[in-house]
Symmetry: C2
DNA sequence: ACTCCCTATCGAAGCGCTTCGACAGACTAT
DNA sequence: ATAGTCTGTCGAAGCGCTTCGATAGGGAGT
């Protein structure tokens, strides 16, 4: 392992000079700088992360806490995680992957040990038990998601309330008066995940404003669960002509079932999905959808975090404005 | 930040004693141990990761390099990543998330800086450019996937050759003589990803042995691409009665298209998928499939890595034996 | 020629921990 | 009793880096 001292000796300067060349915190003459850089290259020097962290109290690591559950909106999570990792690298940070498993303890551990300089939390519940810990520490953090109380926190999220409203508006504008919502799995609501509840909120209040009838049913992903849910919906509200789907893994089953029952999309019924664009365009019907901007959320979260670490930036809630893209799955209500 | 020294003072012992209590590397009297543990709890002490890494030359971090591409078998990747993270934690390791973006440089950086003690590489190509670096370092590593040359490497993977063979066997046994393979996206073959080529290998050689005709077509995911591919296949080989699908995101589109064309599964055509069980059971037809044991692969990789770090374990290739589960998508060839 | 101020560099301290060797005291073996 | 052996604890060195204060030398200003 090549050390700073060896580089210094090789370049004929002191260790501190090499350090300053690396960090740029003091001015160095061009000739010296070049000599040092040359030595670094020749020796293949890489600064030791531990020593750096110890001396500077900065690890240059961002912790990312992803949900343990692998049964939920997986592609979105993955996309966010990758966006976080690549964005972090462009700012000189690496990413430590924590699973929700440890829960609040992970926050304590990371904060206490100086393993990471900051953290990003995903899958935030409305009243998340990790939040008090975050508030009680001076370690910067950003949430992807929106808890009930955001005081003292920085959050990045799609505006799911507006998303819900947007879906209803679109369908209402096309004349639909009876709308069914295929929600996330029951467990998602039970643990009060912010995005699911907010979407529902937006859907409901806009429906009421527009005088549209709304039926919400949670739904596990998959074909069988969707079949049961759809049957129940059509049983309770036979006049349903519009669907809003939030659970990605219910999208394709729903389309298949509707087809099977002879209900044409979009001639007989309209379907709006809340999902990444890729899912919307790859479905068997090109779906009118509100995109979940996973990449942007991940990138944004990192940038806000880096700003905080640099002493810029402050606590604030960033709600990304949803955009609805009309594709081939929605149309006017049948005469 | 509470330090070791403060704990020592609080407990009335020396710093080294506290250290030994923590590491258990020397015997400590019960009374002293308890007093120290008490102090640790009272003060809320967490050892500083950087200092530890510096002093012990061990970071207790495992680097996980995931592919940058988010367009391929995402659920499998995610599941592996989560399995890696949770398994690593049970052995006292944290996981650093690297994306493929940096390529070989990431290997150099991590190895050189001592950021991680070991690494796990996913999405290995047959002739991966990171391999020479791994061979040239004494840092332990495990590949999830199988390159062409495995000398000096430890690999964990599903035996995709056997997987391919198994799929053909199953269909052949049911009487199918004309089998079409829906492969991964063309790009996957172009960069010579091990698992895709090996599967194809297994499919082809077993088909030849059994005298079965095999047609392989790469396919991007999604409905449109699948429609084109299917049309081409049925055009070239109208008598095709068996399908093997490797691209997860082509599964549901294929089923929908077959249904749409009036080809019943499994009465008219049989479909075998290579995918996680969850996908197989949630599809519109419960799919006969060979499972991709993502969790097991992740766990296994970590355990092998930890064994290496502990000085046990050696280079070897672990090929997990594939298992085919018969569900509702395959049946005897129609009379 | 003198001070004053930069700029470029160096030396040394110290970050918080691990680990090695030393050693006091309690036991066992002779 | 004496030497030998453990067991439990301590002190100190050192891991590789950052950073602070000091300093030498070169210009600019007077």
């Amino acid at each position: 392992m090549v050390t700073l001292a060896e580089v210094a000796q090789h370049a004929g300067v002191s260790a501190s000079t090499v350090s300053y060349v690396l960090s740029g915190k003091r001015s160095i003459s061009t000739t010296t700088r070049q000599r040092v850089e040359q030595s670094i290259r020749e020796l293949g020097y890489h600064p030791n992360a531990g020593a750096r962290a110890l001396a500077s109290s900065r690890s240059n690591i961002i912790a990312l806490m992803v949900p343990l559950r692998t049964d939920m909106y997986v592609p979105v999570m993955m996309e966010i995680a990758i966006a976080v990792a690549t964005t972090a690298r462009t700012h000189g940070y690496d990413v430590l992957l924590l699973t929700g498993e440890e829960g609040p303890d992970a926050v304590r551990r990371v904060t206490g040990s100086g393993l990471a300089d900051a953290m990003i939390l995903m899958d935030v519940e409305l009243d998340d038990e990790r939040l008090p810990l975050l508030r009680g520490t001076d370690q910067p953090s950003v949430l992807i998601g929106l808890p009930a109380d955001t005081t003292g926190l920085t959050c990045v999220d799609l505006d799911f309330r507006a998303t819900g409203a947007l879906c209803v508006e679109h369908l209402a504008m096309l004349g639909h008066r009876d709308i069914a919502v295929i929600g996330e799995a029951p467990a998602v609501y039970e643990r009060h995940t912010g995005f699911a509840e907010r979407t529902l909120d937006g859907l409901r209040s806009r429906a009421q404003e527009l005088g549209v009838r709304l039926l919400h049913r949670p739904c596990e992903g998959g074909y069988d669960a969707m079949a049961v849910t759809l049957a129940r919906i059509l049983d309770e509200r036979p006049g349903t002509t519009g669907f809003v789907v939030q659970n990605e893994s219910a999208v394709e089953p729903l389309l298949a079932l509707l087809r099977q029952q002879g209900r044409a999309v979009p001639e007989d019924v309209s379907v709006v999905a809340i999902c990444p664009d890729q899912v919307a365009t790859q479905a068997s019907v090109r779906l009118t959808s509100v995109a979940i901007p996973a990449q942007e959320m991940g990138r944004n979260a990192v940038e806000r975090l880096v700003a905080k670490l640099d002493g810029r930036g402050s606590d604030e809630v960033v709600l990304i404005t949803p955009e609805l893209t009309v594709r081939a799955s929605t149309g006017p209500v049948p005469a």
